[in-house]
């Protein structure tokens, strides 16, 4: 690991100042010379691998007093960005009113990592693409812009089939972000100029020609909270993976439904493990609205969700697997007792 200066944030002003110093020279954010430390489960790991090389680390854990509240209300939910994954997953009201959130967190990582990792850090985690994480591979457009992509013709079994470009096919690895995107969450961002909010769906950027730019967050900005309107008791997170526990998704689905008298009034479908960013399948949702669910509809929805998917040599199985995951998750959401 390279040497760094450790700074402990006394408050959010100090944190954004320290992170935003020389911000123009620090773009893109993934290469910024100052990085925030929350749980550290991505940052310290990638620093040990020499993938991330910050000169300064700003420990934002002292902000947890203000930024870690879990606040379910009558008209929605607010989650502080420094709340720990384990605390949110274990919260009775989250389990009752937002099972898709509780399960997406519970099925991620290990108990130890969930005790460390924060919600804000979780959505900012970097891809698990082996060619990105191992600096002995020179060709990684995300790590060395313009160097090419070793995954294109490499072993790309874990890679994305949706949202890819000819520059990058790295999978977005998280689970919780799919729940957020399915529930139309808003993300609250704190920077020098104060606080701004935007749809969570606008946070992550597909790789396109600039895979080193992963989010619209700027140096000197921190995620401070997430909020969701309404309650979503009829929601599920289904995750298919190589092991039963403690493994990233090969394919996952976050589903949230509003069903009245057997008719689907509102439907949300998001996909994980198969796309370069947290993926909202709006075409699939449109097929569900106003319909009564049956197996045939589930199949059509699954087909629609993967209509634009593009497989490569080793990952085409994800398209067939992903459709089955969507169909099964829908079935579970329709039949669950709430």
């Amino acid at each position: 690991m390279r040497p760094f200066l450790y700074q402990r944030a006394s408050d959010s002003n100090m944190a954004v100042q320290a992170l935003g110093a020389a911000a123009a020279a620090n773009n893109p954010l993934t290469k910024a010379t100052a990085q925030p430390l929350a749980g550290g489960t991505t940052l310290i790991d990638l620093m040990k691998l020499d993938v991330m090389r910050p000169a300064t680390i700003v420990d934002i854990n002292p902000l947890a007093r203000a930024w870690s509240a879990i606040e379910p209300g009558s008209d929605g939910l607010r989650l502080g960005a420094l709340a720990k994954m384990s605390d949110v997953a274990a919260h009775a009201e989250i389990q009752r009113s937002y099972p898709v959130i509780a399960d997406s967190l519970k099925l991620a990582a290990s108990a130890q990592l969930r005790n460390m990792a924060t919600l804000g850090g979780n959505v900012m985690q970097r891809t698990r693409c082996n060619y990105f994480r191992d600096v002995s591979y020179e060709n990684c457009n995300k790590r060395n812009p313009g160097s090419g992509c070793a995954a294109m013709d490499g072993v790309n079994r874990m890679h994305a089939v949706l949202g890819t470009s000819d520059q990058c096919i790295a999978t977005y690895p998280g689970d919780f972000a799919q729940a957020l995107i399915a529930l139309d969450a808003t993300v609250e961002i704190t920077g020098k100029a104060g606080t701004r909010t935007m749809p969570f769906a606008q946070l992550h950027k597909a790789p396109g020609d600039t895979p080193e730019i992963e989010t619209t967050l700027q140096p000197g900005e921190l995620i401070s909270a997430f909020s969701i309107s309404g309650r979503w008791p009829r929601s599920v997170y289904l995750k298919a993976r190589d092991r039963q526990s403690y493994e990233f998704a090969l394919s996952s689905a976050a589903i949230a439904l509003d069903v009245q008298d057997g008719t689907i009034r509102n439907a949300r479908v998001a996909l994980g493990g198969v796309a370069t960013v947290p993926w909202r399948a709006r075409e699939a949702e449109a097929l569900l609205k106003g319909q009564k669910f049956d197996e045939a509809l589930g199949q059509r929805v699954a087909e629609a969700a993967f209509a634009d998917a593009r497989g490569r040599r080793h990952n085409s199985f994800k398209i067939a697997l992903g459709k089955r995951v969507v169909a099964r998750a829908l079935q579970q959401a329709v039949t669950m007792e709430i």
Binding site: P3, F4, Y6, L49, A109
Partner: protein
């Protein structure tokens, strides 16, 4: 290893024996004795050591460390608490699991400087006087290890697993212990050990 008589401290220290056998010399690091000012500015030059006070197993330890030092390396290399093991050093295997403020974490991804002011509990802090912690005893009773390398991490994780209320049935134990990898695949016996110790731990 299921002979209970071997569970008593014998005065034999495997690490001291190995260090002597390989001819290396362990030089104890002299901690700075000066009282730490919690509000003192941290080093402004990354090449300078940072002064860190870690509270480990109920005792304050003053250390002068490279800011890059993890809690795991601080324990093993600076405090000679070698019970916590370095497996992958990337947060994947769980061998380095310790409790920080009573929550299980991987110490290999925790910076020592960021753990100041928190209560760190390691495998060395579990037993009371000459009595093993119920989870330690349960691992011995159930032969829940072969090579033993992952065992300190397994035991720390298991203690937390029980206290979190995630040891009610075998499926839960397996799910919530999945962050601790056992190369020898002693998993069935580890599950049995957690089941045995759980009621006693919950009883307090």
């Amino acid at each position: 290893m299921s002979d209970k008589s071997s569970s008593r401290p014998s005065g034999f220290d495997r690490r001291a024996f190995m260090a002597g056998a390989t001819g290396s010399v362990l030089v104890p690091m002299t901690a700075r004795a000066a009282a730490q000012d919690a509000n003192a500015p941290l080093a402004q030059d990354p090449s300078l050591p940072v002064e860190v006070t870690l509270r480990v197993n109920g005792e304050d330890k003053h250390l002068s460390l490279d800011a890059r030092t993890t809690v795991l390396d601080a324990l093993r290399e600076h405090l000679k608490l070698t019970g916590s093991k370095k497996g992958c050093d990337h947060g994947q295997c769980g061998a380095c699991t310790v409790l920080i403020d009573d929550r299980r974490v991987v110490s290999c991804l925790t910076l020592a400087v960021a753990a100041e002011g928190q209560e760190i509990t390691t495998i060395e802090g579990l037993a009371t006087d000459d009595r093993l912690h119920p989870m330690q005893q349960a691992f011995i009773d159930n032969d829940a290890f072969q090579c033993g390398y992952c065992t300190p991490g397994q035991i720390m994780s298991a203690v937390a697993c029980v206290k979190e209320g995630h040891a009610g049935n075998e499926a839960d134990i397996r799910e919530y212990m999945s962050g601790n990898i056992c190369r020898c695949a002693a998993y069935p016996n580890i599950v049995a050990a957690v089941k045995q110790a759980a009621p006693e731990i919950m009883k307090g």
